[in-house]
C-alpha cells in the first residue's frame, strides 16, 4: 500500500467508525494531508515552521519567561545579553527577553482577533451581497467602495487619539484597536468573497441543492461559503502581518498602550534614546516584528501558490 492509499484507507475507517480512535485518525490524516500539500511550496513550509514557533512561544510565554516583564531593577540597567538576561536588559533594568515574549503574545492576540472580526463582518456581507445580486448588491458594494477609499492609517490615528482622550487603558485600549483594525479589513473581505460567490453561484452544485429544496440562506452559507474559503485564508494570513505592522507603528509613535505594558513598538521607540550606547536594545524588538510579519507573509505567499497552482507555474 502506498502512503497515499494508506491515508485514504485511514480516512474511510474514520468515517465508518466515529469512535475516539477514529476521530483521532481522521485528524491525523487531515494534518498529514495538510503537511503533504504544504511541502509543495518551500515558502509555505518555511512560513509554517516559523508560525508554529511563534504560536508556540506565545502560548508558552508564562512558562518560558524568566522575569516579570514590568519589574524594574535599576542595579541591572542596560546590560548586554548574558546567561542571566538572555537578551540583556533595557533602560529600566527590565529583562528584554521576557518583555519581547509578553509583548508578542499581546500583539499576536490583537492581530488574530482583529482579523477574525474583519472576516466575521466581511464574509456574510460579501456572500449575501453577491448571492442576492441586483439592487442590494449595487448599494452594498458602493458602501464598500467608499470604505476602501478611506486612508487607513489616518483613521487609526483618529481612533487611538480618541481612546487616549477617553483614558482607555489596557484591555479597553486593545479592544478599540481590534474593532478599528477589524472594521477596516471588512471591505476587502466583503469584496473578495462577493467576487468568488458570483463565480460559484453559476455552478451545478448550487442548482442541485436548489433542486433538492434548500433555501437561499442555506445554500449561500452551507454550500457556497466552504468553496470560496481559500482565497480568504490567503488574504487573512497576509493581513495578519499588516495588522502587526500597523499596531507596532502606532505604539512606536506613542499612541498605543501606555507603558509599562510590554510592546514591541513602544519598546523600540524608547530604545532610540540609547542607540549609541546600547544599539542591541533597538535591534531585538525590530527583529521580532520582522520575524513575525515575515512568517505571515511567507506562509500567505506560499499558500497562494498552493491553492492557485496557475500562479505557481509561472
Amino acid at each position: 500500500m502506498t502512503e497515499l492509499e494508506a491515508r485514504k484507507f485511514a480516512d474511510l475507517e474514520a468515517i465508518r467508525a466515529p469512535t475516539l480512535g477514529g476521530r483521532l485518525a481522521r485528524w491525523r490524516t487531515a494534518l498529514a494531508n495538510a503537511w503533504h500539500e504544504l511541502r509543495k511550496s518551500r515558502t509555505a513550509s518555511i512560513g509554517a515552521v516559523m508560525l508554529v514557533l511563534l504560536f508556540g512561544a506565545c502560548i508558552a510565554t508564562p512558562w518560558i519567561t524568566t522575569y516579570d516583564p514590568i519589574k524594574q531593577n535599576y542595579r541591572e540597567r542596560l546590560q548586554p545579553p548574558s546567561e542571566k538576561h538572555l537578551l540583556g536588559t533595557d533602560r529600566m533594568g527590565r529583562d528584554i527577553y521576557s518583555r519581547l515574549l509578553w509583548g508578542g503574545r499581546r500583539l499576536v492576540t490583537i492581530a488574530i482577533l482583529a482579523v477574525t472580526f474583519g472576516l466575521s463582518l466581511g464574509i456574510p456581507y460579501g456572500v449575501l451581497s453577491g448571492y442576492f445580486g441586483g439592487r442590494v448588491d449595487t448599494i452594498a458594494m458602493r458602501f464598500v467602495d467608499g470604505l476602501l477609499a478611506f486612508p487607513g492609517l489616518l483613521l487609526y490615528l483618529l481612533i487611538v487619539t480618541l481612546a487616549r482622550e477617553w483614558k482607555m487603558e489596557g484591555i479597553y485600549n486593545d479592544m478599540v484597536l481590534i474593532f478599528a483594525l477589524g472594521f477596516a479589513f471588512m471591505p476587502e473581505v466583503a469584496r473578495l468573497s462577493r467576487g468568488s460567490v458570483l463565480v460559484e453561484k453559476q455552478k451545478e452544485y448550487v442548482e442541485a441543492s436548489r433542486a433538492v429544496g434548500d433555501g437561499s440562506l442555506a445554500i449561500a452559507l452551507r454550500q457556497i461559503l466552504p468553496n470560496i474559503i481559500s482565497p480568504l485564508i490567503v488574504n487573512a494570513t497576509v493581513r495578519l502581518g499588516y495588522v502587526i505592522l500597523i499596531v507596532a507603528a502606532l505604539s512606536f509613535l506613542g499612541l498605543g498602550t501606555p507603558p509599562p505594558t510590554p510592546d514591541w513598538g513602544s519598546d523600540l521607540a524608547a530604545a532610540r534614546d540609547y542607540m549609541e550606547t546600547a544599539p542591541l536594545i533597538a535591534a531585538f524588538p525590530g527583529l521580532a516584528i520582522c520575524y513575525t510579519v515575515l512568517a505571515f507573509n511567507l506562509f500567505g505567499d506560499g499558500l497562494r501558490d498552493i491553492l492557485d497552482p496557475r500562479l505557481a507555474e509561472r
Partner: protein
Amino acid sequence: MLAYIIRRVAYLVPVLFVLTLVVFTFVEMLPGNIIDTLVGNEGVNDPEVRKILEKEYGLDQPVYIRYAKWLFRAVQGDFGMSLVTRRPVAVELLTGIPATVYLAVVGISLSMMIAVPLGTIAAVKRNTPIDYTAQVTSLIGISIPEFWFAILCVLFFSLYLGWLPSSGFANPFVDPWASLKFLILPAAAVGFRQAAYTTRLTRSSMLDEMNKEYVDTARSVGLSEGKVIFKYTLRNAMIPTITISGLQLANLLGGTVVLESIFAWPGIGRAIFEAILQRDYPLVQAGVLVLGCIVVVMNLLVDLTYRLLNPRVKLG
C-alpha cells in the same frame, strides 16, 4: 469614457461626505469641549460666562447645524485657528504639503529605479538564483517595519559613519546640497519598502505579459530577445506597475506620518502627529480631512489614467 468619468467623479461625493462626517464626529466625540479649555485657561467657572461663550461658539445649536456650518467654512478653506500656534490651520497645513510631496515623489522615483530593473530581471531569469534572491529580498523588504529600517539607517549612516545628518530639512531651492543630505535617509526609507512592493509587482506583470501570444509572434519573426523584452513586454507590463505605484504614492502621502516624525521632516504628516501630541484638535481635524481628500482624489486620477492607458479594461 466621458460618462464613465462623470460617474466616477459622482462617486467621490459620498466618499468625501463620509470623510467629513468621520472627521467632524471625531472632534465631537472628544471628552469635554472647547469651552472647558477656554474656561480652564482663564480660571473662571461661572455658569453665566459659560452660557455666553457657548452661544458665541455656537455650541447651543443642534449638532447637524454645527456640522453644516463647519462644512460650509471648511469648503472655503477656513478650518479655524490652531490652538497652539494661534495661526490659521489652513496656513499650518499648506506649509507642510510641499515637503511631504517632495519626500513622497523622490521616494517613489527611487523605488521605481531599483524595482523595475530588478523585477524585470527576476521575470526574465525566472526560477534561477537571481529570481529567488529578488523574491526573498522583496518579501523581507515588505516585512521590515519602515520605522525600524529608518532607525537602523540613522544608527549606521549618521551615528556610526557620520556621513549624513540624522534628521532635519533644508529648502532645496536655497541650499540644494544640504537639502540633498537631509533627503537621502528619509527617501531611502520611503523607497526601500516601495521598491519591495514594486519588484514583486513588476515581476508578476512581466510574467503575465511574457506568456501572451504576441511575444511568440515577435520571436518567430526573428526579433532579438532584448528587443522583445524592452520594446514590447516591458512596456505593457509597466501599465499595472505604474498604476499601482500611483496608488502607493497616494497612500504614501497619507502614511508618511511615521517617517516624517522620525526624521523631523516638516511635512503635513508630522504636523498632524505633533498636533495629536499637543491636543491641537482643529489642526488634526483639518489635516486628516485634507490628506484624506488628497488620497481619494489621487486614487480617482490613477484609476482614470489606468483606463486611458489600457482601453481593454471594461468600464464597469
